[in-house]
Symmetry: C2
Subunit: 215 residues, 2 copies
């Protein structure tokens, strides 16, 4: 018998990676059910999965008898029910800044460069489209981080903002975005990738990572 949380995840999905980082930071043991977003026309479109998450997206987390979709909602739930270590500062104003940065990435950048949008944009326009939305978001993010960052996005503790940042930088690299105009983002990302929670949850180290992409 197990009551382990079950994470529906795709190795390459940056939103799935966010939740994997949060689970790792909090030391929560879980099972992974891989949902391949490209194989079989997209396993997220299967009837079984649609029943679980009508948005037909990963991640979704089955936990404590409910299924939660949307990575930030999942992280907020983990924060409420498994508060240690904290992913949100206690100070309400710092907390607001962490959530603002998280939302900037989760609403302002990632949705505009995800797989389903790029499909609609058309093959030859995908790369410039993705580069434009990431660059535009990173221009804002760099400016914000210059006044909020310590070792990480907001001060010297890892927060939800960092959990969103590293996967978005990985997307930027995948879309060949020039990161040289973003020294603060790059510096924080490097510090994050040195942490165990970001390493064990990395796309190159998941149960569904194809052999040729493993590291």
């Amino acid at each position: 018998m197990t009551d382990k949380p079950v994470l529906y995840s795709y190795f390459r999905s940056s939103c799935s990676w966010r939740v994997r980082i949060a689970l790792a930071l909090k030391g929560i043991d879980y099972e992974t059910v891989p949902i391949n977003l490209v194989k079989d026309g997209g396993q997220q479109f299967s009837e079984d999965f649609q029943t679980l998450n009508p948005m037909k997206q990963v991640p979704a987390l089955k936990i404590d008898g409910i299924v939660i979709g949307q990575s930030l909602a999942i992280m907020e739930y983990l924060e409420e029910t498994r508060p240690t270590p904290r992913l949100l500062p206690q100070d309400p104003q710092k907390k607001a800044i962490v959530r603002m940065i998280s939302d900037l990435i989760a609403s302002g950048i990632q949705p505009l460069q995800n797989l389903s949008v790029l499909k609609q944009v058309g093959q030859e326009k995908q790369l410039p489209w993705a580069q434009k939305v990431i660059t535009s978001g990173f221009n804002a993010l760099e400016q914000i981080l210059q006044s909020t960052a310590g070792k990480y996005c907001v001060g010297d503790e890892v927060t939800m903002a960092d959990v969103c940042l590293a996967p978005q930088v990985a997307n930027a690299e995948r879309f060949k975005v020039d990161l040289s105009p973003y020294p603060t983002i790059s510096h924080i990302n490097k510090a994050l990738l040195a942490l165990e929670a970001f390493q064990v949850s990395h796309p190159c180290r998941q149960p569904d990572t194809p052999a040729e992409l493993r590291a």
Copy 2:
């Protein structure tokens, strides 16, 4: 001397409307600074406004000595610092569902049909593009709401999910989305629009609403 919060808002922006509803529900008095997203090539691109919100987007709220961007981060801050009346249920599982629905709209629908994306899509493709993303999101939302809704999105109390819902339905109407497949969404929306907080905050009743659109 005033310490009133200042809301940078555009009458038609659905994300600005979310914050106006939240402020009205909580009975928080505030000043509006209109930022016209189309006039003068977009006032959000002015140097002054970019300094305030590097994302060059409305809403932004100046409150308690800080400026917060991103509507959900703003609402979470209001909830922490002005908790009555609640916009989030106390039960962590219900709270997770409220946040999931809010994020579904705020990350999964609205960003894909906002002004800056539609500009990139090109004039003749704008309407079908917007209709497709809203329809796809509403298909999921209708299914979720069928099991969570009471009088409103989650049970019988107005929550952050409702604050996100009504402005998104207004966008759907503006893009001529057929709402007949969404009886639950439509029913909740009707109940919400009957509430004073949704009426005083409505796009047709703002300081910057053009005379011909006022009601």
